[in-house]
Amino acid sequence: MSQWRFEVFNRSGFADVHGQSVLDDIGELGIELVEAVQSAKVFLIEAEFDKDFAGRVAKELLCDPVCEEYFIGRSKAPASLAKATLIEVHLKSGVTDPVAQSVMAALADMGVKADNVRTARKYLLLGEIKRSQADMIAKRVLANDCIEDCVVGDEAEPPSPHLKPYELEVVHWPITDLDDEGLEALSKDKDLFLNLIEMQTIQKHYRDFGREPTDVELETLAQTWSEHCVHKTLKSSVDMELWHGLPAREDTAKMAVPQQVRFDNLLKDTVFRATKELDKDWCISVFADNAGVIEFDEDSAVCFKVETHNHPSALDPYGGSATGIGGVIRDPMGTGMGARPIANTDIFCFGEPDKKLDEIPKGVLHPRRIMKGVVAGVRDYGNRMGIPTVNGAIYFDDRYMANPLVYCGNIGIMDKDKCFKNPQAGNLIVMVGGRIGRDGIHGATFSSGEMTHEHETIFSHAVQIGNPITEKKMLDVLVQANEAGLYEAITDCGAGGLSSAVGEMGQELGAEVDLEKAPLKYGGLNYTEIWISEAQERMVIAVKRENLAAIQKIFDDENVESTVVGRFTADKKLILRYNGQQVGELDMEFLHNGVPKYSRKAVWETPELTEPSIPEKDDYNGELLEILSSYNVASKEWVIRQYDHEVQGGSVVKPLTGVCNDGPSDGAVIQPKLDSSRGLAISCGMNPVYGDIDPYWMALAGIEEAIRNIVCVGGRVDRIAILDNYCWGDCTRPETLGPLVRASQACYDGAMAFGTPFISGKDSLNNVFACEDGKRISIPSTLLISAISIVDDIGKCVTMDAKKASNVLFIVGLTEDELGGSHYYKIKGELGANVPKLDLATAPKIASKIAEAIAAGLVASCHDCSEGGLAVALAEMAFAGGLGIEADLRGLPKSKDCRRSDAQLFSESNSRYIVEVEPDNYNAFAKLMLNLPFGQIGKVTEEKTLIIKSEDGKKIIESDIESLKNAWQRTFDW
């Protein structure tokens, strides 16, 4: 067998865009000595062919005949370049290499079977750099330690990809005789992340059983019982101590004795309870399947799921976010009998991207690199899957620096009569899609634990590499198999791989699995690794024996691998075998219901905060420009345009809108069925800083913002369903759990007030980073609310851009002195105390009336007034519409205490809408809003200027819209 090495370079005269982007990144690191970077692609092919054929492979397959040239063998740095450094980046052995797989297939098309293909990247850095700088560039820019190896210089060969074959050896992990210390040590040594009570429970189970557990049994329990999979914290009973912070608008006089609240099951008593009490007949399946399912129209249902992939994205931003979106896409695909994905959402939280290197804790990647990597990962996976990414948000706070949050959502559509699974004893367990490798071992347990500065090395195996084309191929065939009715149940191999998929599907049945049958990416995996690997792009289906041939033909026809790995039984036991020998046996009952129930303590004490004293001024142009440029408010066009938001042809309200296609839409609308004018509105709401004042009001603000964004684009207010995604710190601490309890109480109150059920949710706890010096950085309490609703007629949707001069602008909703946690205070370096408090009685009425006005065609544009307050909302409407706005704060409905101009301009009071109305519709609109707080705030003008006059008639804002837009756009003009 010969190994051929091919190097492919850019031909001179054709821009090396990769080299250029690496050069830019090196510059950002502060290394200015590198003058140029040349990049090359490297292919290592093991196959039996001769030199002539190698030439053909290079010419016809690997190298573009116009803009590239190739070299067969290893090219040296040109001798004329004394100051050149060569660095090669190879994937670590076992890491999925999608390009290599495609090259294998293409070689087969050329008539050659290759034994192995690997790819690498090669960089030639020109400039006088030291070895230490080369190492730093390799580590910080070119490669990721978790998945890649760097080879500096031109001699070293990459490590061999060949692994030793595996020989069966059943391993027991004795537990029955261990003392508490021993139990804890075992859990820690094996990265089980099981606590003492859980270990004791398992110990007792095995003592009763009279034997020792095997490794795979303990691993299965650890996966199934992980926080990631069972949400122990949110389901635990909680005793809450409240110190003068009540979930209602009450005076905050210091209490002598705390109020005690008890929850038997936190989630059931708050989030679920609202859904149960609301009992909407259009909710088809809630909190039961991989995604929440609601009715779409007579024939179809839609499902929605949002997941987080935080820890993996911290270690490998690109791979982590790619597998985050890849994983959440499989949730709708694995809901009911399988939905077809129609839209993605993504919401990220990062540290601010302008940090200096010495401000970054050890073991943490730079926030800018994390952001670029995360965006690229979602982009490449989502785009390749052909699913439009239509809605999202990015939030910056330095407490996310070590624990970035990566929320990925997916919506799918399915037939209404296929919303439930029906696996039966005797069904074959068939694994479909990608093969199993060592990638992503311990992901579920890892993501349930705390991160430390050493995680990067210890948990590199938890990082997974996605291959979207494998998933797309799998989707294509599963849709056909579903239409043909050839399987009984489907679920995804999520965290925990086969162990979770088979374990969940067989929960009420029992299952037998022959692990040696599972197809592997490479040899050497033991039975436990096969069972728990989170290798991506796999689904498990239950198939009747008589349907096997037909379904496998569908798969084979499009080159999708499928393998029978076992069958479902009726004895409620999970039996694992390898080559016929039993390696594990677990009781389904113990596995799924044996996890001890926790009772936790929570405490909430309202922080003693005060309002800052900031002098009042006559001119707020500077503040407005600064807020528009601030990271959270600034245009995210740089990100949005990298996502395909129009594939599938259902785009109605795009994320960017307005006269230049660049204004910020409040929500997205898509048309899932091309021949029906019914649409789906999608939005989100989140504001973590409010949680620093009170997570109760933070959660309500998030719920209301998500609802408001749905209403603004024309979504129905009576068909909104919402999702909760909690990302919190260490909830074993009562003072961290307290805020979570308060947020959950708000979820109940908000859902009930709006009649808006939660249909799905997920939590990611322990978002804490332990620095080398022992300091712990926790993320702010972060609750993402995602919302989805029906649009009866997409032709009636509206967007936020001002439409026509002389149209009237109304504001609906009361402005109060609520600058606490606002962007205005943020630019002044303050937090404040007066967090926006949602008026639960009025807000739902406002939402209904606005929706009614839009449905009646009375609204030319509608924009939610949120981050940055009224001034920012007006500025956005004006520059998105390419028109001016003249506003007068005398028309603003406001509370008595809201006297100051800065509060009127920048307060972030909830449930406020700015609505543009044609003069002809003035009366009809005003009549609808009767009895609600609303006022005429101004009008749209031809002059491209935003003018806002204070109550005493001064022009406190006067700025041309180009300057405003420029301020808003320049921050992320990357």
């Binding site: 821009a15 865009v17 990769h18 982007s21 692609k41 053909r56 010419k59 016809e60 397959l61 573009d64 005949p65 116009v66 803009c67 999608p98 390009v99 797989q101 495609s102 297939a105 293409a106 098309d109 050329m110 008539g111 982009r379 785009n383 390749r384 899957m385 052909g386 291959n467 979207p468 084309i469 191929k473 294509d476 026809d557 080159n559 345009r641 990298q642 996502y643 395909d644 938001h645 129009e646 594939v647 599938q648 042809g649 785009s651 109605v652 309200v653 795009k654 960017l656 809108t657 307005g658 006269v659 296609n661 048309q671 091309l674 032709g795 949707c797 967007t799 851009d801 439409k803 544009s861």
Partner: protein, 277 residues
């Protein structure tokens, strides 16, 4: 009149097939999405169709280069069949990734002669050797990244059957590799003189410009190409994404004349087949 049948090719990673099928049906064709494996198994099935569309997506992940692996597959398994299809006077449309595939197979810009089977013993080898003569390619955007944005297109060809001469159209692009480059000036001159340029990127007034009017840095703002027959069109923008007014990015502004520009391409194709085949 016989039915007008269009085949929309599927392959691993192709993802614009459903909306392309829908657009063809709106135009009055009977469209069918078919996996490339089925066509390779039975090449004669192409006889039943008059239009073949290579839709957008990321065939095989755009691994190695955009469209390259699928192009390689077409070259090695379907070159004769596609050549015959064109020789029979039928239509070929490549959108985005499909355009990349058409260029990387050599079908575009083609020179008429190349497309004719010459009865050589080893046609596959013959096809393959033509990559030596590929004078044009589609490569990475100057911006270095994937972008989704709307662009105006000015028709350049009087002869391409898909194109309505004189009508400027507005369509979205969504790609990372859309920059058309030629090996040399001579190739470019030839392309222009032979009328192979089908569309150019222009601004709303019809003038060529820099980024983002020309969103990828394409040579002379080339957005689409046709071959010598005028019956093959490849273009980077997505006509199938603008077949209804509500897909226009500014439809809520109710500007005048929000026509679904993408339909012109499908309508023209169907009209041509109806009148000529």
């Amino acid at each position: 009149m016989a039915e007008i049948k269009a085949i929309v090719l599927r392959a691993a990673g192709i993802n614009c097939d459903m909306e392309t099928e829908y657009a063809l049906e709106l135009a009055g064709a009977e469209a069918r999405r078919v996996h490339i494996n089925r066509i390779i198994e039975d090449k004669t099935m192409l006889n039943d169709f008059q239009i073949i569309v290579f839709p957008g997506g990321f065939s095989y992940g755009d691994d190695v280069a955009a469209g390259k692996i699928l192009a390689n597959q077409v070259v090695h398994h379907l070159s004769e069949a596609v050549e015959k299809f064109i020789d029979d006077g039928k239509l070929v449309l490549g959108i985005c990734n499909g355009f990349q595939v058409l260029v990387k197979t050599g079908i575009l810009p083609g020179d008429g002669k190349e497309l004719a089977t010459e009865g050589t013993e080893n046609t596959e080898k013959e096809r393959v050797s033509k990559t030596d003569n590929q004078f044009l390619t589609i490569t990475y955007n100057d911006s270095g990244k994937f972008e989704d944005r709307w662009v105006y297109l000015a028709p350049q060809s009087e002869r391409c059957v898909f194109v309505e001469p004189g009508r400027r159209i507005y369509l979205p692009i969504a790609h990372a590799e859309g920059k058309v480059v030629t090996k040399d000036e001579a190739t470019l001159t030839e392309l222009k003189s032979e009328g192979r340029v089908a569309f150019k990127y222009v601004d709303k007034d019809g003038e060529e410009g820099g980024y983002p009017v020309n969103p990828n840095g394409s040579t002379e703002s080339i957005a689409g190409l046709t071959d010598a027959t005028g019956r093959v069109l490849g273009l980077m923008p997505h006509p199938e994404r603008f077949v209804r007014a509500t897909q226009h990015p500014r439809w809520t502004r109710r500007e005048n004349g929000v026509d679904a520009d993408g339909m012109t391409i499908f309508n023209n194709a169907v009209k041509y087949v109806r009148e000529n085949l």
